[in-house]
């Protein structure tokens, strides 16, 4: 362990060291920065309890009432394992399968899609079969690869901060796993159906042993008409699978439920690493109730679209450009270090996203809260942001 890391750990509050240190260690190099920033941010945020949390791409409205009612309905079975509850964990798999018109063997559940991503790296990569990932992208596969000694090929984004497909293609030969986050976190950009299909075809030609993981965590927030989910592509293409989650539009980040969907062979291999009984009894109920309520998700997409537009416009009016956001967060060129902006808004009770190298010197990721929250946040942003700079820092 480097001296700086050790020094950082000893600065933590007594009694919290190992836990925080563990989280840091678990979430990897970038998260080391993240945790230290939350420490800094935590100390800056006024203790009113009214902070605006727009740092983690959560749905501010949480699960729908239908989901909460379903959870309450399971209280009599809180003491039963998920395989003994009614409905049991198998029924959740069937419900997900039914949503996509596939079979149970095409679906595997995870404790959050985080477990799916981690298991994918374990199942499909090794010291001789690298991980290929855009960078920056969602950190989970990168962190897991580091832990297990898998080499990582980081592919820089293109000029529009999208996944650079040609560059990625050039790196896939012999890879164990390609991580294709669409929409991409943290840059919020998306590739259309044709581009994704062409990419998959090309990988299949170039490196048929390579598994392609398409992370569609933000699928429900996409409004770009050229986008289509890759689930059908995955069902018709060997070695391709899609990760989805209940943490975003479904508003259940706290319940830890995600899944992978693909052909039976790739799902079976992925499922070997699945933690038993990983979705809780209340989680099963909440997820199943939510799967039945597409109208709720459509409403959530509409709500997010409106607030997202408001937020992007507000930044534009201040002179700052965001990427074309197809998710529930924006990635804005603030022309100053994210840390500076983040700490400044924290003092006004607004918590925004962590650093995303190599863009942390200019860009910040800001999640989309409620309209009221974003209106209040924008007032804080206005206070904190000087007019757009073209020269050196003040």
């Amino acid at each position: 362990m480097s001296l700086s890391r050790r020094g950082f750990i000893t600065r933590l509050a007594p009694g919290r060291d190992a836990h925080a240190a563990a989280l840091i260690a678990a979430r990897g190099r970038e998260a080391l920065v993240a945790e230290s920033l939350y420490r800094e941010v935590g100390e800056l945020v006024p203790p009113t309890g009214k902070e605006i949390r727009i740092s983690s791409n959560e749905n501010p409205l949480g699960p729908g009432q239908h989901a909460l009612d379903a959870i309450t309905g399971k209280f009599p079975e809180a003491g039963r394992y998920p395989f003994n509850s009614t409905p049991n964990e198998g029924k959740l798999v069937e419900a997900v399968a039914q949503k996509f018109g596939v079979k149970a063997e095409n679906v595997v559940m995870g404790a959050g899609s985080g477990e799916i991503l981690t298991n994918a790296v374990r199942a499909f990569t090794s010291p001789s079969r690298p991980l290929v990932t855009a960078w920056p992208s969602f950190e989970n596969p990168h962190t897991t690869a580091e832990k297990i000694g898998t080499p990582i090929k980081e592919i820089p984004l293109d000029a529009q901060l999208r996944i650079d497909i040609p560059k990625m293609l050039a790196a896939v030969k012999g890879a164990g796993l390609v991580f294709f986050c669409n929409p991409n976190n943290p840059t919020a950009t998306v590739h259309g159906a044709a581009a994704v299909a062409d990419f998959v075809k090309a990988v299949r030609r170039e490196s048929p042993e390579t598994v392609i993981l398409i992370d569609e965590a933000y699928h429900d927030y996409v409004t770009d008409p050229s986008y289509t989910s890759a689930v059908e592509l995955a069902m018709t293409t060997p070695n391709v699978f899609v990760a989805r989650t209940f943490s975003k539009a479904y508003g259940m980040a706290g319940l830890r439920i995600g899944y992978g969907i693909g052909q039976a062979a790739v799902i079976k291999e992925l499922a070997r690493y699945k933690m038993p009984y990983n979705v809780s009894v209340p989680g099963i109920a909440a997820a199943m109730a939510s799967l039945k309520n597409q109208a709720h998700i459509d409403q959530e997409r509409a709500r997010n679209t409106e607030v997202r537009s408001f937020t992007v416009r507000a930044f534009e009016q201040m002179g700052y450009t965001a990427t074309d956001s197809q998710a529930n967060f924006v990635f804005v060129d603030l022309k100053r270090p994210a840390k500076e902006f983040r700490n400044a808004v924290a003092q006004h009770g607004v918590i925004v996203g962590r650093d995303f190298p190599p863009y942390e010197k200019t860009h910040c990721r800001i999640s989309i809260g409620t309209m009221d929250e974003m209106q209040r946040a924008v007032e804080v942003f206005k206070k904190v942001l000087a007019p757009a700079r073209t020269t050196s820092q003040q």
Partner: protein, 384 residues
């Protein structure tokens, strides 16, 4: 609602009615008499060592209290619950690691301490999670038979432990229900630590609250001092929260950090965290009451079997391991046909023994009637 319907719901009994409500959802045909209860809803479930009463109202109220944060990642709550668990055991937060059930803890320990070159040593049978994970990662498993009284054979286990990566010390043991006293356990641990410097010992105390064996002790004090001893605990048994998915490890900060580096608490859900916090801050009398409840029903059931010549082991848990003198499969299927679910096969005893969990006293009274019918019939297959 007509008077007759209300009476119908009451006669089901709280647990069964609750299960029915839960399964059907509050809105849908709660009081419809047309739809019969499904098989699972009518069953007496004695297959999985669950606490039939669940976690209790205070805990469920805390779960409801967490609804407002169900949409948020629970990272900060993990710290709060870690501290509360630490306080309960009078250790420090850096001695505690939460997990998605002790399932996660057992898997993490196996991952960190075993490999293709470092075997897992375990009694056989013992709870299967570590062995199954070892198989996943290609770690060899050294299985050690129990002695003739269904106790862990500590001499043989010590032999297998030397040179291994991890010893899985399940105490009380699942599925055979017996326990080893504190003195013998400490001596075993000290011998292994002395004779095998690279070996870690994982003490699984899932059934701690139910053990009444004189001299039975927790190994938590040893674990916090020694990086090579880890204790696993769960909220799934006496805690009544098998469905919520939360457990923890207690160990030396170095070991806890090593385990967290592999797999920290990102998968533990917010409802489980709220429940666990409520559970560990309850009055300790709640735990004692649950132990009393179980142990009464356990004694009743053990006596029932013994009186009829079917020998149960000396159960220190919330289940029995009984010599039913026929294959477990046969017994299980016959019981299932009459509405009682008992446990899966546990080689090498599946030709004669069955594991049966302890439900409520009312459930056990009903269950033994079924057992009586099933056992009254002569064994179809001769025991090996």
């Amino acid at each position: 609602m007509s008077l007759s319907r209300r009476r119908f719901v009451q006669t089901l009994g709280v647990g069964a009615a609750g299960a029915w409500i839960g399964a059907r959802g509050r809105e849908a045909s709660l009081f419809s008499l047309e739809q019969p209860l499904s098989a699972a809803e009518r069953m007496i479930i004695l297959s999985s060592n669950e606490n039939p009463l669940g976690p209790g109202q205070a805990v469920l109220d805390a779960v409801k209290g967490a609804y407002g944060v169900a949409g948020r990642y629970p990272f900060s709550t993990v710290g709060d619950v870690t501290r509360a668990v630490a306080e309960l055991h009078k250790v420090k937060p850096e001695n505690v690691l939460l997990g998605t059930g002790s399932t996660q803890i057992l898997r993490t320990c196996t991952h960190v301490f075993t490999s293709k070159e470092r075997a897992l040593a375990t009694a056989l049978p013992a709870y299967e999670e570590c062995s199954q994970y070892a198989a996943l990662i290609g770690a060899p498993v050294r299985g050690v038979s129990l002695d003739s009284n269904f106790y862990m054979d500590l001499g043989a286990l010590h032999k297998a432990a030397v040179g291994s990566g991890l010893v899985f010390y399940c105490n009380p043991n699942n599925p055979v229900a017996t326990a080893v006293d504190g003195k013998s356990t400490r001596e075993f641990i000290e011998r292994v630590l002395r004779d095998s410097p690279q070996t870690t010992i994982l003490v699984d105390e899932a059934y701690f609250h139910y053990a009444t064996l004189p001299g039975y002790e927790t190994m938590i004090p040893l674990a916090v001092e020694n990086p090579r001893v880890v204790v696993a605990r769960t909220f799934s048994k006496a805690g009544g929260m098998a469905g919520l998915r939360i457990g923890y490890a207690i160990g030396h900060p170095q070991t806890i950090r090593k385990m967290a580096e592999w797999d920290a608490t990102g998968s533990v859900n917010a409802l489980a965290l709220a429940a666990a916090h409520a559970s560990v801050t309850q009055d300790p009398s709640v735990w004692a009451a649950e132990a009393r409840r179980n142990n009464e029903a356990r004694a009743f059931t053990m006596k029932w079997f013994s009186d009829r010549g079917y020998k149960p082991t000396d159960s220190q848990t919330n289940f029995l391991f009984v010599n039913v003198k026929r294959p477990a499969k046969e017994f299980r299927e016959a019981c299932r046909a009459q509405g009682v679910l008992v446990a899966r096969d546990f080689p090498p005893f599946e030709k004669t023994h069955c594991r049966i969990s302890i439900g409520t006293m009312e459930e056990m009274r009903k269950a033994v009637e079924v057992f009586g019918k099933v056992l009254g019939a002569p064994a179809i297959t001769a025991a090996a």
